[in-house]
Symmetry: C2
Subunit: 417 residues, 2 copies
Amino acid sequence: MPSSLQFDIVATAGPARRARMHLPHAAVETPVFMPVGTQGTVKGIPQDALDELGVQILLGNTYHLYLRPGVETVRKMGGLHGFMSWERAILTDSGGFQVWSLSGMRQLNEDGVQFRSHLDGSLHSFTPESVMEAEIGLGADIIMAFDECTEYPAERERARQSMELTVRWAQRCKKYFEEHKHEVPWAPGSGLRASYEIENRKSKIENDSVPSIQRPVNDPIADYRLPITDYQSLFGIVQGGMHPDLRKECAQRLVELDLPGYAIGGLSVGEPRHLTREIVESTLEHLPKDKPRYLMGVGTPEEIVAYAGLGVDMMDCVLPTRAARHGLVFTSEGKVNIKNARYAQDEGPLDPNCGCKVCARYSRAYLRHLYATGEILGQVLNSVHNLAYYLDTMRQVRQSIELGEFRNSFPVSGLRI
Amino acid sequence: MPSSLQFDIVATAGPARRARMHLPHAAVETPVFMPVGTQGTVKGIPQDALDELGVQILLGNTYHLYLRPGVETVRKMGGLHGFMSWERAILTDSGGFQVWSLSGMRQLNEDGVQFRSHLDGSLHSFTPESVMEAEIGLGADIIMAFDECTEYPAERERARQSMELTVRWAQRCKKYFEEHKHEVPWAPGSGLRASYEIENRKSKIENDSVPSIQRPVNDPIADYRLPITDYQSLFGIVQGGMHPDLRKECAQRLVELDLPGYAIGGLSVGEPRHLTREIVESTLEHLPKDKPRYLMGVGTPEEIVAYAGLGVDMMDCVLPTRAARHGLVFTSEGKVNIKNARYAQDEGPLDPNCGCKVCARYSRAYLRHLYATGEILGQVLNSVHNLAYYLDTMRQVRQSIELGEFRNSFPVSGLRI
């Protein structure tokens, strides 16, 4: 399969890469952090705020969207882009990780996984083919192959069997995808493409919606609208537990499938952080340099910087929004637990070095009050700030790579990961 | 007391009035609907969204703010304006209604009310003087006198005693306020005025922040910034139960105090709607025509139109935001219960005749999904729409009065109130 995704590396700094990834709905500047919109919403943040924050690509969870509202509903609305009114890029995971985390409620065999819904206990099954069908219906720009997330710890033999299953499933995913990729809701000639541009509901996204303070020179937000490819891109997921040789073998066998991009999965499943880093570093060596490399489910602000430094191009994590809802905010001066009584009369912003709308307008005292009184607005504002902090961090990483200053600006060695 | 508040009537249509009310923080175009920001936030709506919606004045609850974060904290931040970073006008109620609704947890005598906090059962007391002290510390543009809300039903003698207590308390409120009004956090020479304009946290409010689509000709959002008066305005509250003669006597005795504005309280406490209307109509006759008249706690979209038609200038209600959080949205085509399964694949906006940001971008299907999955964003977006609907309704009322077309556009007789 010739790669339908265009990935142009514009600068490097050591193993770190600064690239532009052309997708049907947007050109994405990498390294990129992808906010998680599990159920078709980045929790608590309206889409116009995501526009303003400069979010280029967000992640949807196939498992959750399959259960509610159901793939067919989303497909009829022109896919996830139409359903949630989001014009930029989207990636969907395959549900492999979610189904894995159901543990006691699932049964796995060669064909796929039977599982019970966490909502009502109803019985469902995912196979590589059914997941591809779902992800095509959801219509993200990038879709992930259905994999088995190997538990931690796992003995070599168990990890090998699991890894080999993931490879066989990836082959089945590719076969189904190639035969059905034209069924994506926004495919040429599908007739559905315009369905998310309903006359009375035109999106307000504009290219200049990112304030200049947040838009560094040489890092323009995607101004590219016309598709280079009219189909989705299927990424493979490297498994293999904590065994570098199995990771290598998995990577090599997936690379034979000539997919347009590869992810590293099965990490942050309970292993110590130094092991995560070792596996990432050793796996990256075996992934093609000319294709995007995605590290799934990572991480803290320090981690996303460090992994970008190692050559990871894409990352996602629920941490910024989940922490925000629990009153934990990330700042240039460290973490702030906004529920702390010491902030009760603190007139300063969350982060004096942050240019986001929350820091421009509200005091710590006010945000502490909102948290203490259980007001929704507290969750909303903390989430906007944390996401702004993550996205700003990634903008700085991109700028640093362009300037060849990466290691100076971000001393990876000093980060405990 | 010479009125420190300037109230300029610019047009009338029968008893309905179109006026401009000059307050320290804004000129407010009336009739006006005031969104309720109980705990220093209009639930679920960021302040910049309130700016964009064209909110001119919002309401804060003294009872809630007194308990959390406490008056002293708010005062130190420059008052409620500084604390919540809101540059336009604010009105605070007196806590009379909240304390009344605690029923079993309060004891009332001539001096004031002892009550237990609904949060932790701790004992507190409100007197006319202590409430004035609190409202001066909160620093709203308009503050309400401490009153006793008479229960429904109430016999004549009980209603008379209660009304007379409210009058005596109003006298005490006026006395305390006159002696202490210079203590307002933003008073000339207080040194605190600038405290809510902290260098690193400049408000982003701009005069042109209301999109032209939402700003009818002849109804500019307050572009008036310099204060005519540097003090707050104290309004009295007319009580008297459902007895028109007691309402009349209360109104006349409060008018003797020569306050800058008057409210009608003690309604929507369980009485039938036709009685509410009768009391409002008969009470309005006894309030000065050249001063603002505020009907507290009202109401549905139909009611705010109808009462504006009777000559009410100000109204407030939690209904638009509370209903929104429960999935009930108001539209030009009637009420929509967004949780209804019939909207699961409805691609249309909440209201095809609404120009708000929610209707411009999101489908009923998406909003139904957000509600069904318990996502915060559903509450946020429904609240923004409902508030937009209320504010647009009031803009149309103002325009109609200016054009002398009020009864044509809003056939009050057809509204069941």
